[in-house]
Amino acid sequence: MANEMPLWEVFIRPRNGLSHKHCGSIHAADEVMALQAARDVYTRRGEGNSIWVVLSSAITASDPDQAGENFEPGEKIYRHPTFYEIPEEVGNM
């Protein structure tokens, strides 16, 4: 089993106007067969109108241990609209 089938991540766009969303993975020898396999496995009931396949090995992921960096910047409250005081008379803004 030296020749393992490459692994591909599958992304599907449910309909135009929405983003492609990750839905799983499949094994295939190349990108043409990967697309065909993704269609057979992940879109048997019209789940999407567009499929992306990406070699899993081509994805660089962030380290979950570093997730703390994605913090809500407590001291930068001026990034939020409620930081600014607008008189009520001005109305909705």
Binding site: M5, G24, S25, A29, D30, V41, R44, P64
Partner: protein
């Protein structure tokens, strides 16, 4: 399938108490665990085993039903059965993909199935003798699977939970097509009704065994419950299934093959007769009537497909080389 995946699971784990406590806190807060997150080895091992066995069950489950595709009684039934068997293949693939995120390869899992090291649901080691068995499998086996799988949609491991949501959406057609087959046979000629009753007689007990041993005898449930891999106990799910299914049998005039089955007003559910656990363990350990055939058929499919996999890889390699040469 499913809760049987925990049989023999070893949840023992060697991390520090602080690590385990922090992990348990995330679980208790209903946070999902994703593949790259730190997790106890026991959690990883339990899931690889359970998801792998679940995937194998879907794939082996194609065999008993595939047996009737060419002999389905009408084009309508044939098209539905073909679509159902294709779904089972798809479910197996969603689940293999989920297991692979935990660091096990597809080749390893396939190898474990073929060598007999990995188990699959005992239910698929029974033969499909008549067309009514296809009805009974859809109604009872898929019905029991749905009972098991709905709580798995809330499993703490993200990829497994997401795969189960897709599976559950598709599974409902399976159960309905099975019940419809049974309903039609039960309302047909006396011979057809007898065929339906015979299928129910043979599939009822194996179906309720699918939920696994009684809670008191289920060794590995506590840890899996604490880790929220499992949400309900074997007996709770079995009870739900029985309470839902008995009225469905009565509605089409079939009789459950359990003389002790009685409504218990106090608990608001049915009491059932004793389950033959000796038979259950025999079948789990691979002595079911069809066990050898199932693995032989899987191996044959794998070996017969080897040239296709090799050719596909060779073709991909050739295209890659050509592309590089053209650049």
């Amino acid at each position: 399938m499913y809760s049987q995946g925990l049989i023999g699971a070893d949840g023992s784990t060697g991390e520090t108490p602080e690590f385990l406590e922090a992990f348990q806190k995330r679980i208790d807060a209903e946070e999902k665990i994703e593949p790259n997150d730190a997790m106890p080895e026991g959690y990883r091992r339990t899931l690889i085993r359970q998801i792998g066995q679940h995937a194998h069950s879907e794939i082996v489950g194609m065999l008993p039903e595939g047996n009737w595709i060419t002999r389905a009684p009408s084009l309508r039934r044939k098209a539905a059965l073909l679509a159902k068997v294709q779904d089972e293949g798809g479910h197996g693939l969603y689940l293999y993909a989920a297991a692979e995120t935990l660091g096990v390869s597809r080749e390893e899992m396939t190898e474990e199935l073929h060598s007999g090291k990995a188990k699959y649901s005992s239910i698929f080691n029974y033969p499909t003798l008549t067309w009514a068995d296809i009805g009974a499998i859809g109604w009872l086996v898929d019905g029991a699977a749905i009972m098991n799988q709905i709580p798995l949609c809330r499993c703490s491991f993200g990829p497994y939970a997401r795969a189960m949501i897709r599976v559950c959406k598709e599974e409902s057609f399976h159960q309905r097509q099975g019940y419809e087959i049974m309903m039609e046979l039960a309302g047909g000629t006396p011979e057809q009704k007898e065929m339906a009753q015979d299928a129910l007689n043979r599939w009822w007990w194996p179906s309720i065994m699918m939920f696994g041993p009684h809670d008191a005898d289920s060794q590995h449930s506590d840890q899996s419950m604490a880790w929220k891999i499992k949400r309900f106990s074997n007996d709770e799910l079995r009870q739900k299934f029985i309470d839902a299914t008995v009225p469905q049998a009565e509605f089409i005039g079939l009789k459950m093959p359990d003389p002790d089955l009685t409504w218990n007003e106090e608990k608001g559910g049915y009491d059932h007769g004793p389950i033959d656990w000796d038979e259950f363990w025999r079948v789990v350990k691979g002595h079911g009537p069809m066990a050898r055939d199932r693995i032989r058929d899987r191996r044959k499919a794998w070996e017969d497909g080897a040239w296709v996999r090799e050719a596909a890889l060779a073709h991909a390699e050739k295209r890659r080389a050509r592309k590089i040469a053209a650049e």
